[in-house]
């Protein structure tokens, strides 16, 4: 289990407070599809996601970004319990959605970059280190039910 100091907890919360899910969620998901286009394989029902313009204007992409950040919000509020909390979601991504867990790492990288664009110099090196430690724990929890 990952151990968190009080400073790390408050750092993660402070970063998350600056994130407007409605604003950043769509941006993150657009980045994932544009930067790692093979992720399109999971979104056959989203319609046109084959050009950057289409991706940036796709309402399903935007909605999905919000869904993912709402799930991330749970991790921010439950940093000590991520594995248990995400067990069902992890199993869903493995058994039903059949998502390669390496994609969780790619998503984490896109989340960090989108947050860097928003927070700018407020994302100091120390804050970035803590934030990425948090995301690594999320990625591990989401990969935990793959067998």
């Amino acid at each position: 289990m990952v151990k968190w100091t009080d400073l790390e907890r408050s750092t993660v919360r402070a970063v998350w407070e600056k994130v407007d899910i409605d604003e950043i969620g769509p941006q993150i998901w657009a980045r994932v599809l544009v930067v790692y286009p093979w992720t399109e394989r999971y979104f056959g029902s989203f319609g046109d996601i084959f050009t950057t313009t289409a991706i940036l204007n796709n309402t399903k992409v935007a909605a999905h970004g919000k869904v993912v950040l709402e799930a991330l919000d749970k991790a921010v509020k439950n940093m000590d319990n991520m594995k248990r909390m995400y067990a069902a979601l992890s199993l869903l991504h493995f058994q039903k959605l059949e998502v390669d867990p390496d994609n969780f790492r790619l998503l984490a990288d896109c989340i960090t970059i989108a947050i860097a664009c928003k927070l700018k110099s407020a994302l100091t090196p120390q804050v970035q280190a803590t934030w990425q430690k948090f995301l690594a724990a999320v990625v591990e929890a989401m990969s935990s039910q793959y067998y």
Partner: protein, 143 residues
């Protein structure tokens, strides 16, 4: 994942903007890499000071950015253009090539933070592809 003409243009345009703050970007990227990915510190045990803003960090950050600038200039032929740098990393420095991706991510976070309006998704994918190709070119002489 080879670079299209559009990718190359995007990378050159981004780098022209970044070039004005090259030293700052280099120092920031290196400092963040050492903090966020502590395993990378193993390559710098000969430095007395690894803290942000330290002299070795500033000068080495400059060196790395000069390397990326060279790669931008040789964007049409990275594998032959970066052969010397590849030999340096392969035979002298012996850096595990997995770290090229780590440094690339660190550079991108700094660029995103300093140039958020320029680091659009399209520029992000072009630059990510470019850095992947640089990593490949640097790995050329490894084995």
């Amino acid at each position: 994942m080879s670079l299209t003409e559009k990718d190359k243009a995007a990378v050159k345009a981004l780098w022209a903007k970044v070039s004005k703050s090259l030293d700052a970007v280099g120092a920031e990227a290196l400092g963040r890499m050492l903090l966020v990915y502590p395993q990378t510190k193993t390559y710098f045990s000969h430095w007395p000071d690894l803290s942000p803003g330290s002299a070795p960090l500033l000068s080495h950050g400059k060196l790395i950015m000069a390397g990326v600038t060279e790669a931008v200039a040789k964007i049409d032929n990275l594998s032959t253009g970066l052969l010397e740098l590849s030999e340096l990393h392969a035979f002298k420095l012996r850096v595990d090539p997995a770290n090229f991706k780590i440094l690339a991510q660190s550079v991108m976070v700094v660029i995103a933070a300093m140039f958020p309006n320029d680091f659009t998704p399209e520029v992000h994918v072009a630059f990510d592809k470019f850095m992947s190709n640089v990593a490949l070119a640097l790995s050329e002489r490894y084995r």
